[in-house]
Each structure stands twice: as structure tokens, then as C-alpha cells.
Symmetry: C2
Subunit: 490 residues, 2 copies
């Protein structure tokens, strides 16, 4: 079989000899993919790839269909069909009486994309990493069984375009939970299931704010919230936090006409302070007067170690407060489930934003989570986790002062899955990054959660979802490094 | 037991007598929720709700803990704890020697939010509705079993914060599929799993465009894409579509420095035209010169009725083209799975945008879909659906001319899940909305997909996922209404 390079000048191949030698009948440089069933498609795909990769250069005469079919051990019709497809692709040309040629004028062959595996940032996962949770195999087995039932029994409408608010079943369960535990009475029609706190906050900020709008944020405060608000075009106004929580008077002084405020009232992130009732009333008064939105992030109120939490802001005002809840802490972050409770006036704009973004959420997992809430599985899980996390918290509260010779002062939180170990005044706060490196831990520094420099320094330590051994070991290393810092940098 | 209203002026209750009468010991107007296990929490929740709803008005003296405990048949400690929680809530006050009173100065009680069930827009689902698919119970059973296995066998990292690109397993399966069927060679590291075409397009537009950037869109064209681009701040430049697809010269004439173009090259939506190879080359040349992004929406290329599709644009240029694929058509829209194939230079900005939006996607369902791709279940499903949808297409192509007495001209598509039934020249195009109403069908009009008025009128009819009976019936009604229109509006 003769394979001839008609136009080596445009072929991009070094020499005619090389190509002609390589393209003997038995090794046309194409790879047939055995998983393609149709012979015609298999030949077509192989030739197409060869042409686009430049292995079959422009102007190359292809073997006759008969010859190629014989070589490949296929029916001739398959090769004829493949050639026809290549012709309709514009990848080959026929010349009267002369045969089939690789078309000229195709884009220069791409080098095989040398995959530049881009660095993907994922939170560090060592001891003290925030946001980890513990999940028992039995819980996963139940959840898995529930999802299987939901998928196997899917209705036509489950398969179709769905409700932008997500599963009605889950929204009902959430409304019920909020009424009992958070003093929030809401209609499930005003609940929107989202992927998590940040997703919910971003949807709301996109929907309800305009670029450049000033928004109060707690300082120190939660990074992911600041990221979402900034991405939505908001101008962040840091407002200091004291022992009663965010300082409403300071916020009014800095930006009285802010369009929104982001707060973590039941357990301020990261300090753990609870927003006092009089501050709550002052905040809602201001929001009402200013026509501002209150984004209430209630991220870990399910884990209380001392009494029930204060009623949520959304339980005090149904007009200006958007309540944001998450299953990332009660269950696990990989579940990607959170929710918004919207005032009626915010429902339409937020759903319009969702319609222009991710449209509507997947429903099977939501329905299954509702199933394991309804049958008591989640409540039982929470009871066990409260005990477990309380023990982890106790462990750190005891271990850190001892390990540090009294130089770390853990602040015992009433609630949640992290604590702050404050540096004693006798340690230079500037040492904190050195201590962290020395200890080889992943904790955030309190100073890293601030927009306005100053204030006490400390380590924000997650204690949930880590083994006792890891926590003990982390505390020992952090304590030792702190003592070393005090000695080295007196 | 004495319950006295101390301050009826602030109570919001009509008369002292009324309240005193109502609040006899046995019917303090609170509801105990039997599902709350802890007695203390049960009493606390009930009293809190009563206070916040105004049923227990400011200044009301609460019964002594002993008296209430007796009435409720509980231990006194539970009631004492509930009162303490209410005190720390700021919802009650104690007065030296006088007892416990509902606090003054609380926000006015909210009326129970009269649920204004906001209208939620979901696509209409009658015969000819677009984007429906057929899914067999056996497929759902396999998918459900795969998800159950994935959840029950979840690793620690499956539960934790995850890869913003989604499941590595699914990205590998997609890369393999694209290499074989679409001529695209890509590294799974450059694939990002999204919820669907619109979600992917919006992420890219947010990440890669600036507000006000001009973007070419096909005219007529796909609404949801225009919605997403507009929401990202793009300025849409409608570019006409002819028999070779989008008119590149017209686009260059209208906006030579556009920052991006949105195209459906393999099967233009809604016209069904395939972008010719010379237009493909011209488009990529322009994009390269202009430094513009090409958003290639390849929404239904898995359903071909005549030969393989042209190689995707992303198979011709790895630098400027962002390929957008979806499982909404191959499987079903409720699955919420699509994907982006990004040029290496776009990976970082798109992942940064995801980090500020929905962070990372849920992985179990993705892994499970990868499992049913890897084991051949999806390929078998696609083979059966091709046969089924081809038959539905044939049905309409035959039925519409007959039913309309030749006044509807269905354009037989080579690909996809919809066709256009053009109105014959003898019917006034202005009648189309009348015909649609008269026939009681949900089809979009071709004119409704255009930004620039003019051109032929027709009905965009989805034929997948509908029963034969529905399609026959819809065709009969549409044909009859068209004939009626021709008679009524000659």
C-alpha cells in the first residue's frame, strides 16, 4: 500500500523519508479504541485524532478504503463511512480520481496539553483544623440506604427541572427544627436549601446588594463570609467585637447607612462571644431604621455545652433578618447542605439570583437527609457528638495550660467546635507565627481573622473530628513551642 | 395559683380580666413539644415562644417554679433551669423577692408570618416541553445502589472539605469520553464539575469577564445562557445565525473586540444548524487574535441521528475554548451535573470564583455516576435512548405536516432532543402565539429566542421524555390550531 506525502512543506513532519517510512501500511499512526463498538466510528475517531494531532499532516493521501479495510480486518463499508464522516467534518478532501487527502488549512496541531495541574487550595487537615466532624459508619449506612431509596423511587418530577428552593421535605424538617430549637417561626416556602453558609451568603449578597454597598462585618471575623461579600462587590466595614459581641454603636458611627451586616450572634466567630440581648435589640432597631439586611450566620448552635442558645435574631424580627444555617457542623462539610430562612420580601430576588446561577439544587440527598432527621437518626447522632466534642473540648482546656507552663489560656466556649488559646501577656504576640511553625500545627491566628490590627493574640483551635491522640499531641507541641518562644524571645 | 398582670398597659392584651381569666394555672397559653426530650428545654422552648409571640406579655409574672412544675407534672429542677435560661436569654427579669417577670423592652411580637408562598417559576412540563428525558427504573436502581455504596464506604476525605473541581473519578471518566467521542484531549485536572450548563457558564463569566464586557451570542439563541451572561454583567451582542451557523463576519463587524462568544456549534440552539468547519476556523482565528473566550455549549451531541458530530471547537483549540458539557440530556436534569473543560490559563480564575461562591460540589452522586459510566450502564442507557428519541422525532416529522394540512414544516434535526416546526409562508407569523394558546401547548416560539426581530417563525418542540400519546395528541392539536389560524386570519 502506497502512502505518499504530497505536500511535505505544510506537513510539520521533519522529512518525507521519515513519514513515508513510518506510514507503512501496517502502522498508520492511529490508535483504534476497542471500546467503540461501531467499526466506522472506531476508524473515524482514530483518523480524526491522527489528523488533529498532526500525525496525519495536511495533504497526506489516505489509503484506499479497500486497502485500509483489509489492513484493519474490517468491512469496507465501515471505512467508507468513516471517510464520509471525515469529509463532512471538513478534515479530509477528495480530489477527482486521485483519492482522499487530509485537508489543508486546518488549525496548527495543538501540542498535547502538557497538563499543568493547577494548585488546588484545600483547607489544611492536621490536628486543630477547623470544621472537621466525626461521623459514625452506622450513620453513613443509614444515610446511604435513604438516598438509594430516594433515587430508586424517584418520581418524574424528581428527574425534571426542580424547585429552586430545594426539597420540600427537607424544608419542612428544617422549619420544624427551627421552631423548637431556635425560636424561629417560618414557612417552609421561605426556606432555600443551599450548598453551605458561603453559598447562601453569596446568593443573598448578589441578590440584595449593589456593588460598592457598605456592609458591616465583625472584626475579628469569618474569612469565608468576607470572601463571599467581597466577591459580590460589597465594601467591608470592620466593626469591633467586645464581650457583648459586635459593637452596634461603633458600626453606626462608621457606616450608619450600611446596607447589611454579617453577624454570628450565638457564638461569634472566632471569639465565641454571645451577642447580648440589648445589642440584639439595638442591631434590629438600626437595621429596621436603615433598611439594612442582617445576615445571621448560626453556624454551630446545635453544639451547646451550657444551656440553650439565645433566641436567634430571626426569631425576633422576621423582616430584616436572613438566617443562615448549615449541616456542615451537625453532619459533615462534604455533605454540602445549608439553608437560608428568608423574609418574604427577600424570597423573590434571591430566587431570581439562583435562577441566573445554579438554577436549582440536587434533591435526592436533601430528601434522604430529611428522612434521617424525621426518623430520629440525626438527633441521636447529635446527642452522641455533643458528648464526644464536649470531651475533646475538656481535653484541650486541661492540656493546653499544662503543656505551655501556663502561657496558653484557653477560653472555654459555651458552644461550638473550636476554642481560642490566648497567648499569655508575657509572650510577645509577634511570636505566634513562629510558635505555629515550630509546633507544626495548622491553626489560624486570631490576628489573621482581623481586618483592623491589634488586640490579643491567640490560636483558633478546632477540636471536633480529631482523635484524642492527635489533640493531645497537638497540645503538647503547641505548649512546648510556646514555652520555647518565651525563652528564645524574652 | 395566682397569675397577675402587673403592667397591662404594655401587655398588648385587651383587659386584665381577659388575661387573668385565660391564665389559670392549668392553661398557661404555652404549647409543650413532646419531641423535646429534656424537660427543661421543653419548658424553656414553650415559654420562649409564648413570650416572643406576645401571648405572655411584658411584665407578666410567671408562676413560681414549684407551682409550674406541679402543674406540668415535672421535676422542679427542670422549671428552675428553664427560668434560668430565659433569664440568660434576656426574656425574663427577676425582681428581688417578687418573682420572675416577662422582660420589658422586647421587640413587638411579630404577627405569625402569614406565609406569602412566593410564586416559584418552574418550566412548564406539558407535551413539547424542552429538556425532558426518559429514565428507566433499572437505571435508577443501579444509580441508587452506586450512591449507597459510595456513602456507606465514604472515606474521611469524602466527608471533609473537598476538591473545588469535584470528583476525580468522574473527571477521569469525562476526559476519556471526550477523547473518544468529541476529539478533545484534556487533563482531568482541567475539568470542573458543575451543576449544569448555566452554572458553568456563570462561573466562567464571573471569573473571566468584567461588567460591561461585550459578548457575542447567537441570535436566535439559548435563553438561560443569556440570563447567566447578563447576570454576570456582560453586554450581549446578538449575532445572526445562517445555514453555516453563527456569522463570524457579522460578529466582527458588530463588536470586533468582544471579550467572549457563546456558541452551540454542534447543534445550534434552537435552529439545529451545525457550525461549518470554515466558520469554526474563522471563529477560533478571531478569538485568538482578539484574546476572546469561546464558551462552547455542547449540550446534546450524545444524541446523533446521522453520523458523528464535528470535532468540538475545544478539540481544535485548547487555548481559548471553554467546553461546557451536561448530563441533563444524557441522564436527566434533576441530576444537576455538568462540566467545564478549561484551558490551563482559565483554571485558576474559575476556581477562585468557585471558592467565593459554592466552594466545592457534593461528591457522592458524582462518584456514583462515574461508577455507572465505568461499568457500561450509561452507554447502554444512551443506546436505548437514542432509539427511543429517534422514534419520537420520526413521529413528529410525520405527524405535523399531516395534522396541519401542510402548514407546519418540521425541520428534521441531525441531533438533539428538539425540532423546529416552521410556519408555512401562507400563515401570518403574528398568529403564532394565538396558535400556541389555541392548541394549549407549551412550546417556545422561535421569535421568543431572538434579540433581533425578524426571520421565520416556528415552534420549538421538545420530543424527548414525552409519551407517544402526548406527542401525537400535541401534534394533532398544534396542527388543527394552525389550520384554524390560516382560515381565521387569511
Amino acid at each position: 500500500m502506497a502512502i505518499v506525502v504530497l505536500n511535505s512543506a505544510t506537513s510539520g513532519i521533519n522529512t518525507r523519508t521519515t513519514l513515508t517510512e513510518r506510514l507503512t501500511a501496517s502502522d498508520l499512526p492511529i490508535r483504534l479504541d476497542p471500546t467503540i463498538r461501531s467499526q466506522a466510528l472506531r476508524v473515524h475517531a482514530a483518523l480524526r485524532t491522527g489528523i488533529l494531532e498532526g500525525l496525519l499532516p495536511a495533504g497526506l493521501k489516505l489509503p484506499s478504503s479497500r486497502a485500509l479495510a483489509m489492513q484493519l480486518g474490517m468491512g469496507r463499508n465501515a471505512v467508507v463511512a468513516a471517510y464520509e464522516h471525515l469529509l463532512s467534518d471538513g478534515l479530509v478532501e477528495t480530489r477527482q480520481g486521485a483519492g482522499t487527502f487530509v485537508a489543508a488549512g486546518l488549525p496548527a496541531p495543538q501540542a498535547a496539553p502538557s497538563p499543568p495541574m493547577p494548585p488546588v487550595e484545600r483547607p489544611d487537615r492536621g490536628a486543630f483544623a477547623l470544621g472537621r466532624t466525626h461521623v459514625e459508619p452506622a450513620f453513613l449506612a443509614r444515610l446511604g440506604a435513604a438516598v438509594r431509596r430516594r433515587i430508586a423511587g424517584a418520581s418524574l418530577s424528581d428527574l425534571d427541572y426542580g424547585d429552586p428552593r430545594g426539597s420540600a421535605h427537607l424544608r419542612q424538617q428544617i422549619a420544624r427544627f427551627l421552631a423548637v430549637h431556635r425560636g424561629i417561626r417560618c414557612d417552609p416556602a421561605c426556606i432555600v436549601i443551599v450548598s453551605g453558609t458561603q453559598h447562601g451568603l453569596r446568593l443573598c449578597a448578589n441578590a440584595l446588594l449593589s456593588p460598592g454597598d457598605p456592609v458591616w462585618v465583625e472584626d475579628p471575623g469569618y474569612d469565608a463570609a468576607k470572601t463571599a461579600l467581597t466577591a459580590a462587590g460589597a465594601r467591608l466595614i470592620p466593626v469591633s467585637v467586645d464581650r457583648e459581641g459586635i459593637d452596634i454603636a461603633a458600626g453606626i458611627g462608621a457606616a450608619p447607612h450600611a446596607r447589611a451586616v454579617y453577624v454570628t450572634p450565638s457564638h461569634q466567630f472566632p471569639t465565641g462571644v454571645t451577642l447580648s440581648m440589648r445589642r440584639r435589640v439595638a442591631l434590629l432597631d438600626w437595621a429596621q431604621r436603615a433598611g439594612a439586611w442582617v445576615f445571621e450566620d448560626d453556624y454551630d448552635s446545635e453544639f451547646r455545652y451550657a444551656g440553650p442558645p439565645l433566641t436567634a435574631l430571626a426569631g425576633l424580627s422576621a423582616e430584616r433578618v436572613i438566617y443562615i444555617g448549615t449541616f456542615a457542623k451537625t453532619l459533615f462539610p462534604g455533605l454540602r447542605l445549608g439553608y437560608l430562612v428568608l423574609p418574604p420580601s427577600a424570597v423573590r430576588p434571591v430566587l431570581a439570583e439562583r435562577a441566573a446561577f445554579d438554577r436549582f439544587p440536587q434533591k435526592f440527598l436533601q430528601d434522604a437527609v430529611a428522612d434521617v432527621i424525621a426518623d430520629g437518626t440525626v438527633a441521636a447522632h447529635l446527642r452522641r457528638m455533643r458528648t464526644r466534642y464536649a470531651a475533646a473540648r475538656e481535653l484541650l482546656i486541661e492540656a493546653l495550660p499544662t503543656a505551655s507552663g501556663g502561657l496558653l489560656h484557653p477560653d472555654a466556649p459555651d458552644q461550638g467546635l473550636h476554642l481560642i488559646a490566648y497567648l499569655a501577656p508575657e509572650v510577645d504576640p509577634g511570636c505566634a507565627p513562629w510558635i505555629r511553625d515550630r509546633a507544626g500545627i495548622v491553626a489560624r491566628l486570631l490576628s489573621e481573622t482581623r481586618l483592623i490590627p491589634g488586640g490579643r493574640e491567640g490560636f483558633v483551635l478546632g477540636f471536633s473530628g480529631h482523635t484524642v491522640a492527635d489533640l493531645r499531641d497537638g497540645a503538647a507541641r503547641l505548649g512546648a513551642a510556646t514555652q520555647e518562644a518565651a525563652a528564645v524571645f524574652p
